[in-house]
């Protein structure tokens, strides 16, 4: 991409903002976000990330976008995974190993149920939104 001008930056922001609000990048309406800071990775976030992708692939689920992010601050419950599904509350799960990662796909994504014993609280309100 070429260097941005002021107008380019503003357009890009608007466009990306809309994409993030709609939570619909390239026809995907749900998101699974894995915390991949040093703490998360040390606790096994990479295995969780791979397990989630494998599970989605093996079930042929294509409407879920799997993303990475930094540390959510819940280091006592790493690896942490945030799940955003339309018409369901946004939930952060803690202590998500590969097994629980697959469970997220099965229970939360497919059966639209929350999973016992893994929900963590969102630590604070969002000052940007």
């Amino acid at each position: 991409m070429a260097k941005l001008t002021l107008a380019d930056l503003r357009n890009l922001r608007d466009e990306k903002q809309k994409a993030m609000e709609k939570r619909d990048p390239s026809n995907k309406d749900a998101q699974i976000i894995v915390g991949m800071g040093t703490c998360g990775i040390a606790a096994g976030a990479k295995e969780t990330f791979n397990a989630i992708i494998e599970e989605l692939d093996s079930r042929g689920i294509t409407h879920v976008l799997v993303r990475q992010t930094g540390c959510m601050g819940l280091c006592h419950s790493e690896p942490t995974v945030e799940v955003i599904v339309p018409h369901m509350p946004v939930v952060i799960y803690g202590n998500v190993n590969a097994e629980t990662g697959k469970k997220i796909v099965n229970d939360h994504i497919v059966n639209k149920q929350l999973i016992d014993n893994h929900i963590c609280d969102k630590p604070a309100m969002d000052i940007v939104r």
Partner: protein, 595 residues
């Protein structure tokens, strides 16, 4: 398929032991009785914090937060809240209480945390500049470059009241204005990411989770002071942070947000990384600059301050990662907005790495003025295994130990200094009854003695002396004369050391002598360590009445100093005992005494 509402019941240990399990079943039953099984899911969660107010129930999607809920409240919650949509106000968390520290209107939330620095951490993908941009990223830079003069930027930062988050708390606006006042010419902007306190990882997580916010802030600072070059000094032990910073710098250059004529303006600025080898003293600004210049990382006397004569003799501003991460928000929302958060002298928020004997360790951000009690018990979920709180250490090896009587002191730069500690960069280590105070002081001194560069005598010699005295005390050979000497040396180090490392190295000693003298006395007079940490003071013996002669202790003893026949009481040869404690751990009959 699909539920309309969710009832979350805290399944943390504290809540479960407080009728939480009965509450969970009662809620499930109430949902069933009202025929709502297909509409409402009752879920058990991990610990939600606020353990003292447990059991906690949270209703989604409304986000209602109920505290101290009893099993008999279950029916009411389902009938009123779920069916009629009416909030059960008597069970609500007292909202007035949570609003004290955040003086911003329209904010109504039960959490103690307020995230400015960590606004994007755990939200965006740090490897994607587009996601940062979508969350108002580089909007502050846009505003600064096209709508503000450099002096306006400095004024806004000054108005915010932001102070250095590296620990010393110097007003950021003032620092920038010193550098800006220097005659035009080559100037530098440096980001100090040489985080080295044991137990602190605020800067690492910020850089890993939101690298662009620091890059944007450095560019803004460069514009304000007239610098065209910036360096991030980061320790090589942070490979992931380095990798994400490199990716971020690459993307920013590609978009023209770094480099020549940023966004088509006539301002140019670029950033490079400098990797440190992990010396604690290189977090001190003059030593850090020496290290960037390729010299040995040793501090030099100030003045001249770096803002006047810094990197390669040119005016240089050095800001900590967390300080910088605040900057874009301050410029977007205004200095006034920022100055409303916090206390009279300390504005904004502080990020803490909460570690030690705490249930919910983690990275937290709270408004200045939050108390230790709120941090440890509401956010941190209290002390692990229900033990008693003994002390909290802020500022790592440069800070002091804070005893229980100050749990309710609102945390800011001044109040912490008053009780003998420092804000520091944000490490917050919680200690419980099983920690021995002289032993902890020894641990910190050991660290600072190791990390002292050795340039000035007070730090080099004083630190070693202090460590020797502490070692003596922990071995039960200390005297009150030693304590007097320690006090004198601490004073001398604090006054005469060349840099912050030596000046603050005696803080753990001074504060512990002040608040925990009884423990030192026990070590000196009674040769006793109540926490059982000082090995030399421990005695292991076997109670012949309880010992059944199972031989478990004799088999586990690494120096085979336990003898005795099968099924007959065993004996420990105390002269040969190395006090490893394995016999104590392995005995199933409580026959091994530790005193």
């Amino acid at each position: 398929m699909g539920y309309k509402q969710y009832i979350l019941v805290c399944g943390g240990t504290a809540c479960e032991s407080n009728q939480g399990i009965a509450l969970f079943s009662a809620l499930k039953k109430a949902v069933e009785e009202n025929g709502l099984v297909n509409d409402v899911q009752v879920v058990r969660t991990g610990c939600l914090g606020f353990c003292e107010k447990g059991p906690i129930v949270k209703i989604l999607p409304q986000d209602t937060f109920y505290v101290e809920v009893k099993p008999e409240d279950a029916a009411v919650i389902v009938k009123e809240h779920i069916i009629k949509g009416r909030v059960v106000s008597r069970l609500l968390y007292d909202k007035n209480q949570s609003k004290i520290n955040v003086g911003i209107e329209g904010i109504d939330f039960y959490q103690k945390q307020f995230r400015i620095v960590l606004r994007n951490c755990g939200v965006i993908d740090p490897d994607k500049i587009d996601e940062y941009i979508a969350r108002d990223g580089y909007k502050a830079l846009e505003k600064v470059l096209f709508e503000m003069k450099p002096q306006d930027v400095i004024d806004e930062v000054s108005k915010s009241g932001l102070r250095g988050r590296g620990g010393a708390g110097f007003p950021t606006g003032k620092k920038w204005s010193f550098a800006a006042m220097q005659p035009a010419g080559q100037k530098y902007m440096v980001c100090n990411a040489d985080e080295g306190d044991p137990g602190a990882y605020m800067d690492r997580s910020t850089l890993e989770g939101d690298p662009h916010s620091v890059l944007e802030a450095m560019t803004i600072a460069g514009y304000a002071i007239g610098a065209n070059m910036g360096y991030v000094y980061i320790r090589a032990e942070y490979p992931l942070a380095i990798q994400r910073l490199e990716t971020a710098i690459g993307q920013a250059r590609e978009y023209g947000l770094l480099g020549k004529n940023i966004l088509g303006s006539d301002f140019s600025f670029d950033i490079e990384l400098r990797l440190g080898a992990g010396a604690f003293v290189c977090g001190e600004e003059t030593a850090l600059l020496a290290s960037i210049e390729g010299k040995r990382g040793m501090p030099t006397p100030r003045p001249p301050f770096p803002a006047v004569k810094g990197l390669w003799g040119r005016p240089t501003v050095i800001n900590n990662v967390e300080t910088l991460a605040n900057i874009p928000v301050i410029l977007l929302k205004g200095g006034l907005w920022f100055s409303k958060i916090g206390t009279a002298t300390s504005k904004g928020t502080k990020v803490f790495a909460l570690t030690g004997k705490i249930n919910n360790s983690g990275l937290i951000e709270v408004p200045m003025g939050t108390t230790l009690r709120e941090i440890i018990f509401d956010i941190g979920g209290g002390i692990r295994n229900g033990k008693a709180f003994k002390s909290a250490q802020t500022g790592g090896p440069s800070g002091g130990m804070i005893p229980p009587q100050f749990l309710d002191v609102p945390i800011d730069y001044e109040s912490l200094a008053k009780i003998g500690s420092i804000m520091g960069s944000g490490g917050l280590i919680v200690m419980d009854e099983d920690d021995c105070i002289p032993d902890i002081a020894k641990f910190y001194l050991d660290f600072t003695v190791d990390e002292s560069c050795g340039k000035c005598a007070p730090c080099r010699i004083g630190g070693r002396k202090l460590l020797n005295y502490l070692d003596k005390i922990c071995k039960g050979a200390g005297s009150y004369e030693d304590i007097e000497n320690m006090k004198e040396i601490s004073e001398a180090m604090a006054r005469a050391s060349l840099c912050g490392l030596g000046q603050t190295a005696s803080n753990p000693v001074q504060s512990s002598l002040r608040y925990f003298m009884d423990e030192y006395k026990e070590h000196i007079d009674d040769k006793k360590c109540r926490a059982g940490k000082c090995k030399s003071l421990l005695r292991y013996t076997i109670n012949p009445e309880k010992c059944v002669g199972c031989t478990a202790c004799a088999r586990v003893c690494p120096v085979t100093c336990i003898s005795g026949e099968r099924k007959k009481p065993h004996v420990i040869d105390e002269l040969r005992c190395i006090k490893c404690g394995q016999c104590f751990e392995v005995c199933k009959f409580n026959a091994v005494n530790r005193a």
